[in-house]
Subunit: 145 residues, 2 copies
Amino acid sequence: MTDATALIDALDRAGYRLTEPRRAMAGLISDQTGHFTAADLVVDARTRRLGIGRATIFRALDLFEDLGVVERLDLPSGDHAYVPCEPIHHHHVICSSCGRTEDVDDPGIDAVTRSVARRTGFRIDSHRLELFGLCPACAGSVDPR
Amino acid sequence: MTDATALIDALDRAGYRLTEPRRAMAGLISDQTGHFTAADLVVDARTRRLGIGRATIFRALDLFEDLGVVERLDLPSGDHAYVPCEPIHHHHVICSSCGRTEDVDDPGIDAVTRSVARRTGFRIDSHRLELFGLCPACAGSVDPR
DNA sequence: CTTCATGCAAACCCTTTGCACGTCG
DNA sequence: CGACGTGCAAAGGGTTTGCATGAAG
């Protein structure tokens, strides 16, 4: 559950047209809890009879991803999922049970990349870190301690 | 360029049959430089007239992945690539230019996951870290300093 | 009005599956 | 010889594209 306004604003600021389908997409995305797939949105759109086609959904997701307000995750299963997020560099903690995600910054990861760079001679330009586990709620119901 | 024997041994140890197609796959994989896709292997197999079908290639990759001697990477492009590697937990440094990869262990990443766990309340079970950049050779030819 | 965005359906991957045949041990 | 593995072709699922129509600025 994020704010649809943030998504719409991002489009606006980047000079894209604020069309009805795009506003609807922003609404759909902001209603998602945790990560979601393109297929989820297709289903939701059709359930709500929004009249949005598959193609538009994929195109809008691409757009939001370019704008950095949505990020694509590669789940261990191989599926592609998306999460709404702030357009700054960060990482995600992903609940394997309910799919909830949380953004985290990375105070220590820079040290890791520097250390790897030193040891391998690579020039590290970017990195991806994804943390999988159970969110407090799911951990509580699974292992009640 | 890794060692085909390591791949074959892994199959053997796990009790899988050492068939001709699987030996050929081991050879194909060990001849790859850097990461490769299933499609790469399909092309190579057909170029060398090995008579190995697509299905077998996907099945063998799955198998090698289960055995931990090959790992699947999700490239920023969204493509799935594979790299041969040691069956222990580690991470990869990936050259964005030539695709060469190197395994690295992660002396500092544990601290990062612990810190994230503490801050978010998540129980972190696993993580994926991928580092992208330029290997020494490619960095040298691009930015000769 | 002109450009940009949409919907639809078809095209296009990549990957998996069903099944009869081959072969490893 | 019996279970396991293979090839083929077809099915499947997710994503992209072409094109005529429609809306945004």
